[in-house]
Amino acid sequence: MKEKLHQLKLKYQGKKMAPAFNALHTFLYMPNETTHSGAHVRAADDLKRTMNTVIMALVPCLLFGMFNAGYQHYSAINGFPENFSLFDHFLTWENFLVGITTVLPLVIVSYGVGLAIEFLFAVIKGHEVEEGYLVTGMLVPLIIPVDTPLWMLAIAVAFGVVIGKEVFGGTGMNILNPALTIRAFLFFAYPTWMSGDKVWVHEGVQRAGTADAISGETVLGSLAQGSDYAYSLSDMFYGFIPGSVGETSTLLIVLGGLFLIFSKIASWRIMLSAVVGALAMGLIFNGIVDAGWLPEYSKFYTLMSFPYWQHLLVGGLAFGIVFMATDPVTGSQTNKGKWYYGFFIGFLSVMIRVFNPGYPEGVFLAILLMNVFAPTIDHYVVKGNIKKRLKRFKTATIYPKASDEVDSLKTETA
């Protein structure tokens, strides 16, 4: 097997299809490439391992999302179970079956379309297939409503990969997070499929207007309309609430985040500062309400009076902070810059949430906005280093060249 594939690789070498073959080959075997210049030994990590680690952190969210798709569907039909039991009501085959039939196709379409475009560009441009889409392809199904039509997803993925990434030169060169670019495309092109109280529950849109109509509003959606929601704090924390496929379980997201921090793959600085930023904005809003500056009839009242720390439990904030804000390519690249970058993501997310009741979720917009500003933040951080160097330069001890001295002597005597 190893030998045969090696022969095949040599056969394809230099041909147009080589990148496509190599992409598949390197998934099976780590390549036989050895060092040519510089350090003769290299550390064990490569981009595939890095991306794979992020995917491992996402798998629990995906599995939970599958069960939750079924749970929300059946609960919308039969009502939420009293005396909720994890194994009787949540981790059941019926729930999983709904997940398999709704979530899995999203994953397949996301990966299928995205990777096909990646392969196509690699073959046309003659570079290796880069691994960036492995994570993007997994993120996309987790941040959209469960019933998003597959053709819509396919178009959005094609748009996101081509415009969001490939036109800039592929993985490592893009300015905006590709997964969020896809999400934003869906949001602006098909807004009715991305918000409202029907889309979060499987079959909610299909059944609308019939006698069997079902619905499920997200916590944020309810708050934006000033109405109450029926979920307890523990529901929100464990994730038994409606929402995009993978974003609901704060517990699993936190575990995934801790795993990424422990494995040193994602930046703890961004995560921590984003949490601080979100809490800060939440506290400011709570303070405004407590001070009585906001009349109760204001349409922002319910969202502003929502306890500040609970913002982290609902919507996509936790998911965005852990998995999207920490994208190293589109985020701030300096350690100092990461503090500012993360803080503003958290801060702006909660702000957009409160002031944008038409669509009460601001995380993806906040992250995309900060993606745009990340290079600016880095610019100023790096400038600090440059200034320090310039300051040092003032005390520089520079001796003239030996030949210059002779020249100056000559001119003096002449």
């Binding site: 030994v41 064990a44 990590d45 794979n52 790096v382 280093n385």
Partner: protein, 449 residues
């Protein structure tokens, strides 16, 4: 009085096959060779023709840009071959050694009274100058310039590198002579960094002694410069390796260019890794096979595994090297190597890699890149092993896009390619950092002179 410098950021790469601290005398080599690539940026002009006889210490060629700068033969004998490459560029000069060695005996300057020009001229004429390197640009020092300080690193933290405390013991006299001479060449200080109390540099007079500790790259002179007295735009510092101080010192004391050097032969492929006494340019096989090798196919490196130059069993000891390393080649496939847990390789992450569990364990690394070349993706990782007050990723990118202003502003003056050997080692995108920096330095030198 010594000043302590503690380096926190970095990574010690512990490899199996460290040289045992015993010195054997290597078999005398038949042919000695100078590899011209060792002298980066020097265009050689030959002084003797092929087939002519030469004495040890007699000039073989000079620097086209500075006729006074001579490069001398390590041994006496016949110049048997001038190996040329594309455009007749000289690659290697081979000297067939005489049985009885004849040395040129130069007239030694009086170190107490000699002035800077006398020392300079002596070192330039007698072949001692190429041991002095300069920053910026990491090239052989320009004798026209006056450095603000001279730096010597007398500790080695690179993996399997020769230990100067052991290899240079009892050389205090030579070192003191070199220090006396070099102190005439700079109005500033001579900074020497040592790692232990065993160092032969501890009792040398006329130097600023620094006690340096911490993980690699604490032993790289670039790290020490950055912590002690960083290079500013327009400034020049000179650097010498500890073992080259001894060579310069002997040249000043005896008038003889003695190319003898103690070299560590190390690496997991070597059966009996230990130290050998040999000469610059000697055939590596003269001591490699004395220690024996465990396999037929391996990577032979002139230098340490991070900064050395690839060579082969018919190769010759490099001009600046005091370590020769042999490690396994890694040109094999590994099934699911990218996602399975890794226990036998070093990693700076914990992404199913477990080297963090045993920081003291010694590893047997091969030359496999452990992944393919990619664009820069991950951020914040280089900073953890890069103790210099410089933004490594930003500087590398500035070099790649050839932005001269930014290269200057971000501190390219201060670094040498070797300072980026550790970031290259941990690079997830497998980018050639040292090559990028080398090309950046060359460009900067070409544009700004």
């Amino acid at each position: 009085m010594s000043k302590d410098i503690r380096i926190k950021k970095g990574l010690d790469i512990n490899l199996v096959g460290a040289a045992e601290q015993t010195i054997s005398k290597a078999v005398t080599s038949n042919v000695y060779a100078l590899n011209l690539d060792d002298f980066h940026g020097i265009t050689p002009k030959m002084l003797i023709k092929q087939g002519e006889e030469i004495k040890a210490g007699e000039p073989l060629f000079y620097n086209k840009n500075n006729e006074e700068m001579h490069f001398v033969s390590p041994v006496s004998g016949e110049l048997v071959e001038i190996v040329r490459g594309a455009r007749r560029r000289i690659l290697t000069l081979k000297v067939l050694a005489d049985k009885e060695q004849n040395y040129v005996i130069n007239k030694v300057p009086d170190l107490d009274t000699a002035d800077a020009d006398t020392i300079k001229t002596y070192l330039l004429q007698c072949g001692g100058w190429p041991f002095i390197k300069q920053r910026p640009y990491d090239v052989i020092a320009d004798p026209e310039m006056t450095p603000k300080a001279i730096f010597v690193s007398a500790l080695a933290t690179a993996p399997l590198a020769a230990d100067p405390d052991f290899a240079l013991r009892d050389k205090e006299q030579e070192i003191q002579a070199a220090v006396m001479a070099l102190s005439k060449l700079t109005p500033g200080k001579i900074h020497v960094s040592v790692g232990s109390s065993r160092s032969p540099f501890n009792d040398i007079k006329g130097v600023e002694l620094h006690k340096v500790s911490g993980p690699h790259p604490a032993g790289l002179v670039g790290t020490q410069i950055n912590k002690i007295d960083p290079v500013n735009k327009g400034e020049v510092v000179w650097t010498l390796s500890a073992q080259d101080m001894v060579m310069v010192g002997e040249l000043l004391l005896t008038g003889k260019f003695n190319a003898e050097r103690v070299v560590a032969l190390a690496g997991s492929v070597v059966k009996e890794p230990k130290y050998y006494r040999t000469k610059i340019g000697a055939e590596i096989s003269t001591f490699l096979y004395a220690s024996g090798v465990k396999e037929d196919r391996f990577r032979l490196i002139n230098g340490d595994v991070l900064t050395g130059v690839k060579t082969h069993t018919e190769g010759y000891l490099g001009f600046y090297n005091n370590t020769v390393t042999a490690i396994p080649e890694g040109d094999d496939y590994e099934l699911f190597g990218w996602n399975k847990p890794v226990f036998n390789k070093i990693s700076s992450t914990r992404a199913l890699t477990f080297s963090w569990l045993q920081p003291k364990k010694k590893y047997d690394l091969d030359t496999n890149t452990n992944g393919e070349h990619r664009a820069f993706v991950v951020t914040g990782r280089y900073e953890e092993v890069f103790p210099l007050d410089i933004y490594p990723l930003q500087l590398l990118k500035a070099c790649m896009v050839k932005d001269l202003d930014e290269m200057e502003q971000l501190g390219l003056y201060e670094v040498a390619p070797e300072d980026f050997s550790l970031t290259e080692f941990i690079c997830i995108s497998k980018q050639p950092h040292q090559q990028i920096i080398r090309e950046g330095l060359d460009l900067l030198q070409k544009e700004l002179g």
